[in-house]
Symmetry: C2
Subunit: 331 residues, 2 copies
């Protein structure tokens, strides 16, 4: 595809989404080298254990402290915890991974290179507009308990957008909405993986609040399809943020009930609402459809939940995995 194979860096490439992106990138014959930088805080070495490719290298370090003389043609910045219990436990590190991490990555960009960033629907906060178009400025409490993540992401968007404006750097920004699927950490803390791991362990499925808060559940394969198109495979030259997610909005309770229906003995309980938990979240996909023709989230949550359950079941209790997702609920 190219006489000069691309040198690629994926920060956070051992994470849930990052490792799927690595798989996709290694499918490109024009990639000559792929370096993952990950401190394994919320990522895991096992997410990349299947990679057997001479082009691949893993550097275990904080991205903002990654020391190298190499320069990269494509940089993907996914280094950040993404689950409230993780980022709320170390807000300084969360902001540092996003903002300082991106500053460091800008230093590592080869002339004419491209930097791509996975931002979040959390930049919209608890939205007063639904669905949320990219032009919606959001409703984020910049001193609230979720602010290290929300504002770290917003500030990184600002940094990259202004670098694009001032220096002409090729920047791509995706705002991801509630991604789920295989390779989520069992202790990640987000809804679908929580429901599944709780039920598989014989614990009750806990819903924080009444469960009527809705989310747009994007199965990871669909999301990676969107990222591939936005970041490298569709020529578009658009520098602003683009929503990437599923616009089928489904209440948390509905998903929990579906998980419970798949696992014998599973039951649902309600806990205290999470602090500043948004009441709704749904992407306006007008821009994505216009920039990335043919892309949409194809996998309904029912199918995605089943696939995720199979993955967790195989992981948590291997013998049961052969016959599907029916482990001993008392295990």
């Amino acid at each position: 595809m190219s006489a000069n194979p691309s040198k690629v860096l994926v920060a956070g490439g051992a994470g849930f989404i990052g490792s799927h992106l690595v798989d996709r990138l290694l499918g490109r014959p024009d990639v000559g080298r792929l370096v993952v930088v990950d401190n394994l805080w919320t990522g895991a070495r096992e997410n990349l254990a299947h990679v057997d490719d001479g082009r691949f290298a893993l550097a275990v370090t904080d991205v903002e402290r990654f020391a190298t003389e190499e320069r990269f043609d494509e940089i993907y910045q996914l280094a950040s915890p993404a689950s409230p219990q993780w980022y709320m436990s170390d807000p300084v590190r969360t902001i540092s991974a996003n903002v300082m991490g991106t500053m460091r990555l800008l230093d590592l960009l080869a002339p004419g290179g491209r930097i791509c960033f996975t931002s979040t629907s959390e930049v919209y906060g608890d939205p007063l507009v639904t669905p949320q178009p990219e032009s919606y400025r959001g409703s984020v409490d910049c001193t609230g308990p979720r602010s290290s993540y929300d504002e770290g992401k917003r500030c990184t968007e600002a940094l990259l957008s202004e670098v694009a404006r001032v220096h002409g750097t090729d920047v791509r920004i995706a705002r991801l909405f509630n991604v789920y699927g295989p390779r989520t950490k069992p202790d990640d803390g987000r809804a679908i993986s929580n429901f599944i791991t709780s039920a598989l362990s014989g614990e009750p499925i806990t819903i924080y609040g009444d469960g009527l808060q809705s989310r747009s559940w994007g199965y990871v394969d669909d999301i990676i399809d969107g990222l591939e198109k936005l970041f490298w495979s569709v020529p578009h030259g658009y520098a602003g943020p683009v929503n990437i997610g599923n616009d089928r909005e489904v209440p948390v309770l509905t998903v929990a009930q579906y998980v419970a229906s798949l696992i014998p003995g599973a039951r649902i309980v309600h806990g205290e609402p999470a602090p500043q938990d948004p009441s709704n979240r749904c992407p306006d996909l007008t821009l994505a459809r216009s920039l990335l023709p043919g892309w949409s989230c194809e996998i309904p949550y029912e199918e995605g939940v089943r696939r995720t359950l199979e993955w967790f079941a195989a992981r948590l209790s291997p013998p049961a995995a052969e016959g599907g997702a029916t482990p001993d609920p008392g295990a």
Copy 2:
């Protein structure tokens, strides 16, 4: 006042507001040492030229790169450009001064120390609510041309608020509204100093847009009174952001006309509106009045403008300063 004199650091202490804060701090007998860290990007050595005090030291460096073994009991973080033409010219440095600068300062805080931050009304963006209470989440375009400043400040508020929540650090945050007065740089680019320096130089006073956008003009002495109370002289223990400003909202055009009335030959022209210039800005001072009884902005803009004009006139054309602000308009 204290057996252990305080060690104080003021980042950005050679700047317009910072240097006034330094003067106020040096009036405290309990301050044993005061280190200003300033890279003189938008600050100026001359703002501190009058300081003749053995407790005082100036370190000329970026705050985020300030190397020292000292630890400080009180840290004041004012290191940031504050005028659009300056921060839009170097957004990376702007974000770095705020976010990375504050991370560095947190490392320099002595156990039990206090860190105080001057945030901005820009965290409200182009507000849809007026006046703006601290609880208003704002309307900031996080990828717009003002975003390095707005989001750099928001992210720093997040950083400090979360450090207070997680580590119990004593944090104080002031959101300042359109401060003006002596020691503004002649090329600062903000409204009142621009109007005055233009008119004193015989240039037309340029208003960007129709001038009907309103601002809350806070004379620097009033603002420093508020900061003194919020940051050290009134016991309150409040960690959230507090609006500090003048709640008398006055259109830009009115101020320009007042400046023009003081300077013979001055005339007003209109230019293109500044990008994403907010249409209004006015602090809700309910919280400030409750926390800081007795504080309010006492100096009306007419008086503040006259004082600022006198300062600029003495600076730009010394002979005219003796008789007031009536330099040769053709100079």
